[in-house]
Symmetry: C2
């Protein structure tokens, strides 16, 4: 992991006939025709939001070949728009444009746009092509890989959706220059997660390179995104529909979802909640005798170095956590299943955590 | 095709790990526990409509094993309810009941219920189990096999949906006793279609047995349904997502959709429009020199014997047809693709029909 990198990197998500490439590097967006190889036909709709449109819509349009019919749809920004009503707006626009089954949707934006556009593509005329152009670190390393699409419901996050793979993912690291620092940190939470669950060498590399990453050094970003996507792609290829190993990607997420749900979605960023949640998972793993105190300290240090919270919300009681955690949809038939760490770089799904141990961990975990 | 049949018949739709069984016969619904093998977990929701509920909901409930949590949702009847709003009601009910990813939906009713419940299952928490219990002939031989699910949009039929396979299909031929004769005829249109596109022997058998079918003789019904499902299952297994041979199932449908759209959906039954549409396809095939006049006469005779219309709506002009047919979603990139007959029992996809020939056919076709 030590060589210097320049130029774009390519990798493949291996899913048989649903395999697709990920292209990563600076300056990719805006290259004339760079999106051409993955268009299903001549009808293209770029869907983005009000924040991203002024920054990158023109560059995205310039990435298309001549002779295609391009429509644009600009939705409001934010997690609150990740609803069936927004997806319906996409479907309305597609039908009003007379788009057929060989159209292509382009998701230009963060995870909210990617999830909604992917779901719109999954269900328009029972499935059309789409391309992910993620513009936030979180969506570059997480939601753009793996085919999870969907929207929130008033009674739960991501409750309505589909597994639907993009034709390709185009990650232009230059787009991170306009990302607020807090969102960069939130994306780093997921990057750290890949190291924690599956790659101790990558974790050590991240410990060394965290300052470079936060300073947006292009070669460090490209390498971090590439390794994150590769690790996620490996896992997704093993388990496309989350029957087994894919669940490990949820390290920190059951705690994190509890925090997000308690605060109201959008108060903490998803990555911030996952950051604190991963530390809770690490501390619980130590209480089970799996992690050493030194390993917990390393976990705490790298989460802190990424600019992520090391404490839960001040007003969250043990009961607040427990109630939210039991509603998490990963808990099949109401058994509490948690992703924990056997050691740094090796996660496991564990459903026998004694309730007392969990409660004691939550009780003792700092609030801030 | 001549032996006498009694008792239930079983067949398998071969789709690799998405394979599922179809059970056909009298008296299946209501057998205690008959649905047990296909439940994913202990949470079950039966979704039906106001017409079917008083007839078969109790029997469906009795088909479940003891110890499962059963919820029921009764929607209004009719094609007009096949909307995203109705599917949202199913999602709301599932979330309000706290149903998790191991729940099972049961679609009890005709094609509208099957399509909506299948789509609800496809997208609830990115996909849960569902069982089809079709109670109309049309849904038994058509929409319950093949995994097409979805809803209508104000701008087009079946525009929003997914491919999602059921765990099993349970076809109780006794449910046809309460089906209005007009709907029985509409179902027979699709049965005849299988003979026309792929099985000349079956077509000959149907010519002989049409009176028995319309008199609801159980052994004839069981055989007709079994052979129809087997033919559709073969085609779907070859081409799950409609890239090729599956398109042949649309014989008569481009004409039929034009009739339905022109009249307003629900004026003609789908099967009635397909009946007239198949005759139009047969006559066009004759104009191309493929079918003999005797074969067209056989086609006309069996469609008439099933009680289906042999004329298009009186007020439909050539232009009315052409405008609607070009909007049909099977016409990729605006080329007019029609399913036609090379001979009885052998259909093909043909996209080189001269416009004059098509217009002359529509012009000459009887109105009534």
């Amino acid at each position: 992991m030590s060589e210097t990198l320049t130029g774009p990197r390519n990798l493949e998500v291996a899913l048989g006939e649903r395999s697709y490439p990920i292209h990563i590097g600076p300056g990719l967006l805006g290259e004339p025709g760079v999106l051409a190889p993955w268009l299903a036909g001549r009808q293209v709709m770029i869907v983005t939001n009000e924040v991203v449109a002024p920054l990158y819509l023109e560059r995205c349009r310039a990435s298309l070949p001549a002779g295609v019919e391009v429509r644009e749809l600009v939705l409001p920004d934010g997690e609150a728009t990740k609803t069936l009503a927004s997806v319906s707006r996409i479907w309305d626009a597609l039908l009003e444009a007379g788009f057929n089954r060989r159209c292509t949707l382009i998701a230009l934006g963060g995870g909210v746009i990617g999830d909604m556009v992917g779901y719109a593509a999954a269900c328009y005329q029972r499935g059309v092509a789409f391309i992910q152009v993620p513009t936030t670190l979180l969506s570059q390393v997480d939601s753009s890989v793996g085919g999870k699409t969907g929207v929130n419901h008033p009674l739960g996050k991501n409750m309505i959706g589909a597994f639907w793979q993009p034709r390709a993912v185009l990650i232009d690291t230059d787009t991170l220059a306009t990302l607020p620092p807090r969102e960069l940190s939130a994306g780093l939470a997921e990057v750290i997660k890949y190291g924690l669950i599956r790659d101790a060498d990558f974790l050590a590399w991240l410990e060394a390179e965290m300052p470079a990453l936060r300073a947006l050094e292009a070669s460090a970003l490209t390498r971090a995104i590439e390794r994150s996507c590769a690790l996620k792609a490996e896992i997704v290829a093993e388990d496309e529909t989350e029957q087994g190993v894919r669940a490990l990607l949820n390290l920190g997420h059951t705690f994190g979802h509890a925090i997000e749900a308690h605060q109201g979605y959008g108060v903490w960023l998803h990555g911030e909640a996952v950051g604190a949640g991963m530390l809770m998972a690490a501390e619980l793993s130590a209480r089970l005798g799996w992690l050493s105190e030194a390993e917990v300290a390393r976990t705490r240090a790298i989460i802190g170095a990424a600019g992520l919270p090391l404490a839960a919300p001040a007003d969250m009681s043990v009961e607040d956590f427990l109630v939210r955690m039991r509603l998490d949809k990963k808990n099949v038939d109401s058994r509490l299943r948690l992703i924990l760490l056997r050691t740094l770089g090796d996660a496991c799904l564990f459903d026998e955590t004694p309730a007392e141990l969990l409660e004691a961990l939550i009780e003792a975990f700092p609030r801030g």
